[in-house]
């Protein structure tokens, strides 16, 4: 019975088996598929009572905006959230996997998850795949040891910071943070600075756009503010809506005249 084989731990890491084939196909002229990226501006900031995470909501596939209102702030634990930039599938699946692992860890330890635990799980996974998992994350949360904010890079390195930005709009957002960040801000001040940073990304970076999502995490709990700001409303739809005219004429033709119903045997099944 196969189930009795020794349970080896999963090998993990990148499997290079198909790389030669892919390189050969590319040299023959085959086009590599474009994958959905979150061009993105994601930010995080530590304030007096906790952490604020912010993200834009545009997802791109090459030059096309494929989702005008996607969710980039992912759930990891009740007290830990993670913004994701890079390949959308990678960020979503990596955060999903680590969220599952954290839940199992919570059952085993009967304790609230810690941000460093999530951080270590993420970086080990990303390092194992040698940067092929294209996920750049801003991880933030509040646990028993206090508020924490980290930036995680696709190759597995991490930074621990009071404020962090990632994604194609990170320079625009960082410029705002560098000039306006102060230690020990209140929640309102923090939200204002985060919104300004994301908006800088939305308006100055082509890879970012649409709305601002926020997540405020404190010791008492979390506030997931989806579409907190919508600086890009659709202003071109018909304000009165669309309506159709009354019926001008109708013509009903009975199909019975054209279809002959014939009794017959049931179809033979081979």
């Amino acid at each position: 019975m196969t189930k009795t084989a020794i349970d080896l731990p999963p090998k993990g890491g990148f499997s290079f088996d198909l790389c030669r084939r892919n390189a050969f196909l590319e040299s023959q002229g085959a086009k590599m598929p474009k994958f959905r990226k979150t061009g993105t501006t994601i930010v995080g900031l530590v304030f007096k009572d906790g952490v604020i995470l912010g993200a834009d909501t545009r997802a791109t596939e090459g030059e096309i905006v494929c989702d005008k209102n996607c969710e980039k702030i992912h759930y990891l634990a009740p007290n830990i959230y993670c913004c994701g930039a890079g390949t959308a599938a990678d960020t979503e699946n990596v955060t999903d996997m680590v969220s599952s692992q954290l839940e199992l860890h919570r059952y085993a330890t009967s304790r609230e998850s810690r941000v460093v635990t999530a951080l270590t799980m993420l970086k080990s996974h990303l390092f194992g795949y040698q940067g092929k998992v294209s996920a750049a994350l801003v991880l933030g949360g509040v646990d028993v040891t206090g508020p924490h904010l980290h930036a995680v890079y696709p190759h597995g390195s991490t930074d621990t910071l009071p404020f962090a930005t990632m994604g194609s709009g990170s320079l625009a957002a960082m410029a705002v943070f560098e000039s306006r960040f102060k230690e020990g801000m209140t929640k309102e001040q923090g939200i204002e600075v985060v919104c300004a940073a994301i908006c800088a990304g939305i308006f100055n970076d082509l890879g970012s756009g649409s709305n601002v999502d926020l997540c405020v995490i404190t010791k008492g709990g979390k506030e997931y503010l989806r579409n907190y700001q919508q600086p890009n409303p659709r202003s071109y739809t018909h304000s009165k809506g669309y309506h159709f005219t009354t019926i001008l004429s109708s013509k009903i033709r009975s199909l019975r005249n054209h279809v002959r119903v014939v009794e017959g045997d049931a179809m033979e099944e081979e």
Binding site: M1, K3, T4, A5, I6, M97, S100, Q101, L104, A108
Partner: protein
């Protein structure tokens, strides 16, 4: 496990058609501390004795009733270490289900997967059956449910059940007291009374454990203080 010398099953049929190892496993369960569960109209309660081998054991470190998912909990009778293996496997299976189907695992599915694991250990090389019976309680889209899983891998849904020592008395007591429209609070009182029936010594919040799940779908183990309150109500 999996070694070529032990690729044959240790659980083999007797001439009378019984699997003796499973019978012995059930005996191990009957020697274990009593656990019981009652399904109410708006929730489920499971309770177990928590008799520690010595007064020197730190009772705060012992947790007999465990969480499998936010809305499913489990109690056992029999060998504690065996139950730990099953709890660990079930938790992982619940996570895998959630990642695959993006919905919390229904209780009947989780019970079935756990039962499958227990059955595998009765038909695999070099392993013995689990020496525990589990009482799995949860509240999902199909309402409150209570399942019992045996070492053979068979499982049943129960309105009320008891496992471990003193099972026949406990079941008779439950049969008399159970009503279909029982509410969770009544069920908790009945559970305590049933445990009290066969309890040796003074019952208190420190030597029994009670887990409940109600319509909020959050399974939780009552604190010793809460258990003492219920005990006082029952007096």
């Amino acid at each position: 496990m999996g070694d070529s010398q032990y690729s044959f099953s240790l659980t083999t049929f007797s001439p009378s058609g019984k699997l003796v190892q499973i019978e012995y496993a059930l005996t191990a369960v009957s020697a274990g501390q009593t656990s019981l569960g009652i399904k109410a109209s708006n929730g489920v309660v499971i309770a177990t004795e928590k008799k520690l081998p010595s007064i020197l054991v730190d009772e705060n470190s012992v947790h007999k009733i465990q969480l499998l998912t936010p809305n499913i909990g489990v109690a056992y009778s029999g060998m504690g270490p065996d139950s730990r293996v099953l709890v660990r496997k079930s938790r992982k299976q619940a996570q895998q289900y959630k990642r695959l189907y993006n919905e919390p695992i229904p209780l009947s599915q989780l019970v079935r997967e756990t039962a499958v694991v227990m059955q595998e250990f009765t038909q695999s090389g070099g392993v013995r059956p689990f020496g525990v019976s589990l009482l799995v309680a949860g509240f999902d889209d199909n309402g409150p449910q209570l399942y019992q899983v045996d070492p053979s891998g068979s499982y049943f849904s129960w309105k009320a059940s008891a496992i471990g020592k003193n099972v026949s008395n406990a079941k008779t007591f439950l049969e008399k007291r159970y009503t279909d429209d029982m509410e969770l609070e009544d069920a908790i009182h009945t559970a305590i009374l049933t445990l009290k029936e066969g309890f040796e010594g003074q019952i208190s919040g420190k030597n029994i454990e009670i887990g409940i799940v109600d319509a909020s779908r959050k399974f939780r183990v009552l604190t010793p203080a809460e258990v003492d309150d219920y005990l006082a109500e029952v007096e």
